[in-house]
């Protein structure tokens, strides 16, 4: 039984250690030229050509904008429900 508890304790310690390191790991994520997504987008640019790639990016940005808009709208609605007084401070169309 002692061993069992020891194992559980070790597991919690490992989890805590990982949790402590997690912010640094997240901060170490950078979007530089060697980022795999950059290389993939560069490949798409190479294959599609500049006009099509620009439109592709435009389509992507508009889509991302809609998503962010909806998320922001929902978050403010949730905040408005939680704190009724804040309702009316932000006018979201």
């Amino acid at each position: 039984m002692g061993n069992v508890l020891n194992k559980v304790r070790e597991a919690i310690e490992a989890l805590t250690d990982q949790l402590i390191l997690l912010p640094d790991r997240i901060d170490s994520i950078t979007f530089d030229d060697n980022f795999v997504v950059t290389k993939f987008l560069g490949l798409i640019h190479y294959i599609l050509g500049t006009p099509l790639y620009t439109l592709f990016c435009l389509f992507l940005l508009i889509g991302a904008g809609f998503i962010l808009y909806n998320i922001a709208k929902k978050i403010i609605n949730i905040i408005g429900i939680i704190i009724p007084k804040i309702k009316g401070m932000f006018i979201i169309p």
Partner: protein, 507 residues
């Protein structure tokens, strides 16, 4: 009415998705076209054998700017070795005696290629001498740009038939004194000297087809004619022969033999012709001063031998820009058992480290869990098998152990962390996530500025893509690619405008 509007919107979304997928599907289709276009350029030397030759050429003083150049040069080296004649008479005379021994050595190494892959390969004297002379013959110090235009078609059995597009003296590849052509064995046999009116004594060579005499040539120089294969204007392969008539003149052509033109490879030849106009297909390289054309140049690795390192699971990319000095250092490191940089230990990117770290922790956690369950099972089994008295005794012992463990192990942790620390910890994680999202948004805004980058494709695929993009429709004088690009731009623009309008109207 509302239902009809919803269905219309759904239909539009589906059409937009299909349009986007069309772009993706078309890109994949282009990739297939690239691969197909690369077929005529299929080369006989691949894998570790190819890398070994590239390594030897680097040691002989060549530095290749691209993996494509290294691949073509190594294959040219092999074709010249295998088919006994590089298309240059002087060079053939120079190395004729050594090349057979070199070929034998190379084939011995290639047979054991699996064993040598990932290790250091000793270069025999014959192989080195041939390579040194080959390099010295074709390359000079400094930048070289040599176009040989050698292609191969692949027959039904997978054999490569090397050929050239024309019989220009600089382009054609001579394939030796004997050849198998369309199922027949052809050979040149010396038949002594004959007297020719107004000329005098000449050397007579007989063309033998399966042992039967089907033709002859006379020359002033005692040297056997050589066969070569070329593509005719009708894109069929044809057998030719070339011989040194006098010191300064070369004779061409044979007509009295059974085998004619070889059909069935028109498509491969046409594609190769198209590609040859679009891409740089040469054996260019930079020759190191003091090494190229230096007949005495040789090297020695730390073990006192002449060896070369063949990278484990490597690609021809490894030889891009690699100098003989660097390769010698790498070979010495490999002999000493040290990890070779760029091959044995590659620097990991952050996502590889992250994935690696997470997977290691998952594995560790799984092992922990399995160990815990095993302990629990053993404990239960032990408990079940013991009598009640033993249980009481065991329980007391376990209780003591638990108490001891708790006091000993958990106390420092309790003192070290509190509930507030955990809150701060989660807050830090949350802030890190927010920072990540902000960075991602900034990155998203900048993706338009990412330059075109084809490095994920190999050279053949890039060449195939460039070839495809440059295909012009004759009548309207617009490239297929421009037409497709314009059409898709128009459709996507309309889709974007419609989407924005719909959102604006619904808002």
């Amino acid at each position: 009415m509302v239902k009809a509007v919803n269905e219309s919107r759904l239909l539009k979304i589906i059409v937009s998705v299909i349009l986007c997928l069309t772009v993706t599907a078309f890109s994949i289709m282009i990739k297939c076209v690239e691969v197909y276009a690369a077929i005529p350029l299929a080369l006989p030397l691949v894998g570790a054998g190819l890398m070994l030759v590239a390594g030897i050429l680097v040691m002989a003083g060549l530095t290749f700017e691209s993996q494509n150049q290294a691949t073509i040069a190594a294959n040219q080296w092999y074709i010249d070795l295998k088919y006994s004649h590089p298309g240059k008479w002087g060079f053939n005379r120079l190395i004729n005696e050594e090349k057979e021994l070199a070929l034998e050595d190379f084939e011995n190494i290639e047979e054991n290629i699996e064993e040598i892959n990932g290790s250091v390969v000793e270069v025999t004297d014959n192989l080195w001498n041939y390579s040194k002379k080959w390099v010295s013959h074709y390359y000079d110090e400094g930048q070289n740009n040599i176009n040989r235009d050698v292609y191969t078609v692949v027959d039904e059995e997978g054999n490569h038939i090397p050929y050239c597009f024309n019989h220009n003296f600089d382009d054609r590849v001579l394939l030796g004194e004997t050849i198998e052509w369309m199922g027949n064995q052809y050979e040149w046999v010396y038949n002594g000297q004959v007297s020719v009116p107004h000329v005098g004594k000449m050397h007579l060579y007989l063309l033998m087809e399966n042992g039967q005499n089907v033709g002859q040539v006379t020359t002033l120089i005692e040297e056997k004619p050589q066969f070569y294969i070329y593509a005719t204007n009708e894109d069929k392969l044809r057998l030719g022969a070339e011989y040194q008539r006098t010191e300064n003149t070369i004779g061409r052509g044979i007509t009295n033999y059974a085998g004619g033109v070889l059909s069935g490879y028109e498509e491969q030849i046409q594609l190769a012709r198209a590609i040859s106009e679009e891409m740089e297909y040469n054996i260019a390289a930079t020759g190191k001063a003091g090494v190229i054309d230096n007949q005495d140049w040789d090297y020695e690795t730390v073990d006192g031998k002449r060896s070369v390192y063949v990278p484990k699971n490597g690609t021809m990319e490894y030889y891009e820009g690699l100098t003989y000095g660097e390769l010698l250092t790498i070979t010495d490191m490999a002999i000493a058992g040290e990890p070779v940089p760029g091959v044995d230990e590659e620097e990991k990117t952050w996502w590889e480290q992250l994935v690696g770290g997470v997977s290691a922790k998952v594995e560790e956690g799984a092992q922990l869990l399995v160990g815990t369950l095993a302990d629990l099972k053993a404990w239960l089994e032990g408990t079940y098998q013991n009598v009640i008295g033993s249980i009481r005794e065991g329980t007391a012992t376990i209780a003591e152990e638990i108490r001891a463990q708790e006091v000993e192990d958990i106390d420092p942790k309790i003192r070290q962390f509190g509930v507030f620390d955990i809150f701060i910890l989660f807050l830090e994680v949350l802030l890190a996530c927010i920072r990540l999202i902000i960075r991602a948004c900034v990155y998203l805004a900048k993706i338009v500025t990412i330059p075109p980058d084809g490095t994920l494709l190999n050279d053949d695929a890039q060449s195939g893509l460039d070839f495809f993009k440059n295909q012009i429709i004759p009548v309207i004088n617009i490239s297929v690619w421009d037409m497709f690009s314009g059409l898709m731009s128009l459709i996507i623009s309309l889709a974007v405008v419609k989407r924005v309008r719909r959102v604006a109207e619904s808002g």
